[in-house]
Every structure is written in C-alpha cells, then in structure tokens.
C-alpha cells in the first residue's frame, strides 16, 4: 500500500500521512472476515484518500512534489520517459498501473478496489501498456 501511495504522490511525507489515515479508517469499520478482505478495504480506503489528495493538489495548482532522490534516480532513463508519459494518462489508468506494479495486486484484487470487472482491469492494463509503447515510439 505504501508503494502504491508513494507511486502516485512521489512524496514521502504525504505517503505517511495518507497511509496513517487509511489505516485509521480501515480499522474503524466492522472486523473483516479475512486478511484479503482487510487488504481490499485498506487499498480501497487509500485510493479514496489519494483521489481527494490529488484533486486538492490540482485545484490549488501546487506543483506536484517529487523527492530529490527520486528525481536523481529517474534522470535520463527509459523509466523516466515511461513515467513521464504515464503521468499524462487518465487517473484511472495511472491508478491501475500503480495497483498492479507498485502494490502487486492481482487483476481480481484491483477489480475489487476500483469497482470494475476483472476482465475490464485486464483490458485497461493491456491498452495502457500498448499506449505507453506507442507514446515512446512517437517520441523516437
């Protein structure tokens, strides 16, 4: 969950705050039937908080924070180009990519978190990766 939040915010402090809030809210609900159900609740809560956080950030027009280490690591790499394109994609696509690669959720788990069918999640993942490839090709 921390990697998922960090991947979307790229801000260590915001990650700690949002993760704490997500834990607080997730624990406030009824006791989950099993570990997986709790994980889904935690990710769903974290995602709701992230959406609000990112919306507030875009409303205020504040520049998106980026940790210095992150900046240095990503400088002039293929990964930087990929992430640069990804950040221009719709929030839903960014979210599903982060849940897949940062949080290592299965398509079925992602489906529960974002409220889509498992098949739809698979299609979005496939199309987003293809879209990234095409964007890189256009860039040359």
């Amino acid at each position: 969950m921390f990697a998922y939040i960090y991947g979307r915010t790229r801000d260590t402090r915001a990650t700690e705050d949002l993760a704490s809030e997500a834990f607080e809210r997730a624990f406030a609900g009824a006791y989950p039937p099993d570990e997986e159900a709790f994980a889904i609740r935690l990710f769903t809560t974290a995602r709701d908080l992230l959406v609000s956080h990112l919306r507030a950030q875009s409303r205020t027009g504040a520049p998106q924070p980026q940790d210095e280490i992150e900046e240095a690591v990503l400088k002039s790499t293929d990964l930087a180009r990929i992430l640069g394109h990804l950040r221009q994609f719709p929030q839903r696509e960014q979210d599903i990519i982060a849940l897949k690669f940062d949080a290592e959720l299965t398509n079925g788990q992602i489906a529960q978190v974002v409220g889509l069918s498992e098949g739809k999640v698979g299609v979005i993942l496939y199309r987003t990766l293809r879209k990234l490839r095409k964007a890189l090709e256009r860039e040359g």
Partner: protein, 52 residues
C-alpha cells in the same frame, strides 16, 4: 521499446518503491502498535505468562 520491456521496467520500479515504502510502513506500524508479519512458527508466537 517493447511492451514486455516496459512491463519489466515498471516491475523493477515497483520493487524500488516497495523498498522505499518499508520505512514509512514501519513508522505507521509502530504508531499503530502493529506487527503485520505473521509468526513464522509456533515458537515465534507469544507464550502465555505462567502463574507465579
């Protein structure tokens, strides 16, 4: 760059972010008094205090 290569780079980046997230996770776990890792064996489980 192929879709497979893009996928591999995203997987590696995910691993890096998970490592970075560990510290934040530890801080939040400490704040909540949590130990989310399950005991590895019955020997690791807390033993009941014996009556004195």
């Amino acid at each position: 760059m192929s879709t497979k290569e893009i996928r591999e780079l995203l997987i590696n980046e995910g691993e890096r972010r998970r490592r970075l997230g560990l510290l934040a996770q530890r801080q939040v776990n400490d704040a909540w008094g949590l130990n989310l890792s399950p005991p590895k064996s019955s020997e690791d489980e807390p033993k009941a205090l014996e009556d004195e």
